[in-house]
């Protein structure tokens, strides 16, 4: 893999680039050190005869290993009448296999210093296991047993359903959870990305047989990726992967591909009524382009400038200047069939309207106030720094590689992305600003108490009040 450098970004000394509205950097502040090349990220890539893709990254240092198995087909592949049933079956994968009970599995993971977790996203089912390095063979054996031989025992499914119903009820009390659910509905309507959480009905209707059938649809080597990262030799890792998964065969039809997200949806206004709420949980945004689109990279750079970091326009304004909120931010979440721009702020009731005013102003500013040199360079450097930070950690790297594959991108994209961001110009950011950040494009969802904030919302459209 090629090595790239951040020379362009690092060549700018910060002393000269602050514009008038920004603080003057102290004269004694030492400069950054000389730019170093970005270290390469070699990924040992294989495809087994049964179609399973295997990516291996040997690492020195911490004597542990992480293995991630990702299966295409997450909540978006669930039947419309069984929303987020993926949540249920993915959480029950380690409830028992043909040869091990759930307790035996838990104890055997513990014995290798391991941890197993599994879950669903919109696009995939992910199984993740870790262990001390010397136990790599057991780690792979356990991961393979769960992936290929889980049985969804009757008693475990019954308990899992009862607990899922209780957890669903508990989640209904959380403003962030309410906001996520309502935001997905607002943005995606009938598109499967709307169905990110289960309903009582979908949980109650599940049976061991239906969970087995749903899982079997996703458990196909030709639509799966195995990532192994950690203190292990690449040859040994491949041998373990082959021994564990080489004989894996698909059964039945695969899940269907998710249609592209609708990018021309009409923005909506929704207020989710929450009695006694002392804050408004504000979410704004819209569906956007997939990571393969030419706009995607500049969109992420623009987002970093808008609300993606601590010195972003959003944080500096509504937190550091106005004190409206503790944890504002914005994020571009990639998906297999698109992406999503989301602005987040939880604010006290009294400043709900003023916050919406400020965010609108800042959104408009993305098209009218070009990024300063400092903003642009800072965003690029932060992206490069985060690349180094996240990829130094094996679990984080394994997850990044798995999601990259899920988004139909090559492993090399992880590094190439940083190089591409370094070439983004202020003009591109401004163009992205008018195409994606225009307030007229944003749906707004608020979880809060209508009687406390209703009068402040008038200027921002007609909010449909929903009682969950």
């Amino acid at each position: 893999m090629k090595t790239l450098t951040l020379t362009a970004a690092l060549a700018l000394a910060f002393a000269g680039i602050a514009h008038s509205a920004e603080p003057v950097f102290p004269k004694d502040l030492p400069p950054y050190g000389e730019a170093k090349p970005l270290p390469p990220l070699p990924v040992d890539q294989h495809v087994l005869p049964n179609g399973l893709t295997v990516w291996i990254v040997p690492r020195q240092g911490m004597p542990k290993i992480t293995a991630v198995l990702t299966l295409l087909g997450g909540t978006a592949a669930d039947p419309a009448n069984a929303p987020a049933v993926s949540d249920l079956f993915s959480g029950l994968l380690d409830a028992g296999t043909t040869t091990r009970s759930s307790q035996q599995l838990a104890e055997q993971w513990q014995a290798i210093g391991g941890e197993f977790s599994s879950g669903s996203s919109a696009d995939a089912i992910t199984l993740r296991g870790t262990a001390l390095a010397s136990h790599a063979p057991v780690l792979m054996d356990l991961l393979g047993d769960i992936a290929l031989h889980s049985t969804f025992p009757d008693k475990e499914v019954a308990l899992g359903k009862a607990n899922a119903l209780q957890e669903l009820k508990a989640s209904e009390g959380e403003p962030a959870w309410q906001a996520s659910r309502a935001f997905a509905t607002a943005l995606y309507g009938d598109h499967p990305y709307a169905r990110i959480v289960p309903t009582e009905a979908s949980i109650e209707a599940a049976t061991p047989a239906s969970l087995r059938a749903e899982y079997a649809q996703r458990a196909r080597p030709d639509r799966a990726l195995l990532v192994i990262v950690g203190k292990i030799d690449a040859v040994k890792a491949l041998a373990l992967a082959t021994a564990t998964f080489g004989h894996w065969k698909a059964s039945g039809a695969p899940s269907t591909e998710t249609p592209a997200v609708p990018v021309d949806v009409k923005p909506v206004r929704v207020l989710v009524q929450r009695d006694g709420s002392v804050q408004s949980a504000i979410r704004m945004g819209h569906p956007a382009v997939s990571a393969n689109n030419v706009d995607y990279v500049p969109l992420t750079v623009a987002n970093m400038i808008f609300g993606g970091s601590f010195s972003s326009r959003l944080t500096e304004d509504i937190r550091e200047d106005k004190g409206y909120t503790y944890s504002p931010g914005s994020i571009v979440t990639p998906r297999r069939a698109g992406s999503e721009l989301r602005v987040v702020a939880d604010v006290r009731n009294e400043v709900t309207g003023p916050t919406l005013d400020e965010v609108d102003k800042l959104l408009r500013g993305m098209a009218t106030q070009p990024a300063s040199d400092e903003e642009l360079v800072g965003a690029k450097r932060l992206i490069a720094g985060l690349y180094l930070y996240r990829n130094q950690q094996q679990r984080s790297l394994a997850t990044t590689l798995a999601t990259t594959w899920t988004y139909k991108l090559p492993a090399s994209f992880v590094t190439e992305y940083v190089e591409k961001t370094s070439q983004v110009t202020a003009e591109q950011v401004t163009a992205i600003g008018s195409r994606y950040f225009d307030p007229a494009l944003q749906s707004i969802v608020i979880v809060g108490d209508e009687k406390a904030i209703d009068s402040q919302l008038k200027a921002h459209g007609n909010f449909r009040v929903v009682k969950p």
Binding site: L6, E22, P23, F25, P26, D28, L29, P30, Y32, G33, K36, R59, G61, M62, P63, K64, S102, Q103, A106, E107, W109, Q110, A111, I112, G113, G114, E115, L132, A133, N163, Q166, A170, E174, D275, G276, V278, Q279, S309, F310, E316, R319, D321, G323, Y324, T325, Y326, S327, G329, D346, V347, E374, G378, R381, L382, A384, G385, L386, L388, Y389, Q392
Partner: protein, 452 residues
């Protein structure tokens, strides 16, 4: 905490191992320590596998030491550390760190406050300079105080007032279980006390606690120890030492009678319990055994409480907890703490039934001890978790800085695994009998109620 989202709860632990992890699983961290003339201690752990560095500046002051009519002040002060200095106006700190490709955060705990950052090694010098700059002085302005008071109130709203359960298993359980104000008061603070905070309080707190003799700097990553020592000497060496802060006796005996209360929650939909048993002091004979017992009882899905109460008896939907839960881990405290639990229970059961189930699990250990296989598994898991928490350079820097601060020696990072490995079945049985008894237990039952 300054901002949610960057999960950086480090810990302590080290390496070595027992009979249960292979020799290849041993991981010893290099540790170099230097003390400056002004009392500042610098700890460096080199790792040249990635061109980044983690920094943690740990001040030996937390919620326990805040003034009695100023609940929440240690945390409010933490926020003010990011608000600029006489020479670096507000905004410079974040812009320089981000401009160097780094991220930063801070958090306030009972016994310490830490300031952490990580970035490419090319940002090492500016990041250390900024830390020295704010150790020297802050921009003590009313505007900043007002602004961050508002931000902290939003933090409390988002985590407490507007949230089901509102962290009652932290603040309310402390208030119930402990007797001394230092240990029992709400570290997030009352709005009244936050409103009462004045700039003079900020100045006094900085002068007293934020000084070189009360701080440790941890640095981990792609650096040379000598280079770090030289930079720290250059930037921090002339910061004057102040009188060492007085630390009162915050210790408490175990409780001798069970304490129980009940509360209602208008945001929660499901009833929950907070349960805590007062724990042995840091570094005491029983400390490591209590950590092992905690892992055995509630550490993961193989644990006795999970298997016994969530799976077999089907009384709980979930259970979370541990020694020094929820704001720390089994090793990063230096005052009274608890083995605490937070669990949601099913509408078909009762708190008494849950407590009975927990007591039955504890009684197994009381009567029969712990079998060798279970103990070996638990120790292996603890070793692995310890390594995992040391993986990122920012967490590693934080761990060694905290160990130096709380244990007096960063090399403890390589000793804690030996402490774990030395725990015997008899030790586990002894601590179960001593600490996990009803008389030493505090329980809060929190049930849903309709919102007004």
């Amino acid at each position: 905490m300054r901002r949610l989202g960057v999960a950086v709860l480090a810990t302590v632990l080290g390496l070595s191992t027992g009979a249960h992890a292979a020799d290849t699983d041993r991981w010893k961290l290099p540790i170099a320590v230097k003390k400056l003339d002004n009392g500042l201690v610098v700890v460096v752990s080199e790792d040249h596998t990635s061109p980044i560095v983690g920094i943690s500046v740990v001040y030996h002051v937390g919620m326990r030491l805040e003034p009695e009519n100023r609940t929440g002040f240690a945390h409010l002060f933490e926020h003010l550390m990011f608000q600029g200095t006489p020479v670096s106006p507000k905004g410079v700190f974040d812009r320089v760190i981000q401009g160097g490709g780094g991220i930063n955060n801070g958090s306030t705990r009972a016994d310490f406050t830490n300031y952490i950052e990580t970035g490419p090694t090319t940002a090492l010098a500016p990041m250390l300079w900024l830390e020295a700059d704010r150790m020297r002085a802050l921009d003590f302005s009313e505007k900043n105080l007002t602004n961050q008071r508002d931000v902290v109130k939003e933090e409390i709203r988002v985590n407490v007032t507007n949230q089901p359960y509102g962290l009652f298993y932290w603040t309310h359980l402390n208030a119930l279980a402990f007797d001394k104000w230092a240990n029992k008061h709400d570290g997030y603070g009352s709005f009244k006390d936050l409103d009462s905070a004045r700039i003079d309080d900020v100045k006094a707190f900085h002068a007293k606690f934020y000084q070189p003799g009360n701080a440790v700097i941890g640095v981990a990553g792609d650096v040379e120890a000598a280079q770090v020592f030289a930079l720290v000497e250059k930037y921090f060496g002339d910061i004057p030492t102040q009188t060492a802060p007085v630390r009162g006796d915050v210790s408490e005996p175990l409780n001798t009678k069970e304490r129980r209360t009940s509360e209602t929650d208008s945001l929660a939909r499901v009833p929950a319990l907070a349960i805590g048993w007062k724990a042995p002091p840091r570094g005491s004979r029983d400390h490591a055994a209590m950590a092992v017992l905690s892992q055995l009882l509630v550490g993961d899905n193989a644990s006795r409480f999970y298997q016994g109460l969530v799976k077999n008896r089907e009384l709980l939907t979930n259970i979370d907890g541990g020694l020094n839960f929820p704001l720390g881990d089994a090793w990063d405290f230096d005052g009274p703490t608890m083995l605490s639990l937070f669990a949601m229970y099913k509408p078909t059961t009762s708190p008494d039934a849950v407590l009975k189930g927990l007591d039955e699990e504890i009684a197994h250990i009381d009567h029969d001890g712990v079998d060798a296989a279970s103990l070996a598994r638990v120790k292996t898991k603890m070793l692995s978790d310890w390594y995992g928490q040391l993986e990122s350079f920012i967490n590693r820097a934080d761990a060694i800085a905290k160990l130096q601060t709380l244990w007096g020696d960063a090399r403890t990072v390589n000793d804690v695994p030996k402490l774990i490995d030395g725990v015997t079945p008899a030790d586990v049985q002894r601590v179960a009998r001593t600490y996990l008894v009803a008389a030493n237990r505090s329980v809060i039952d929190r049930t849903p109620v309709a919102a007004k």
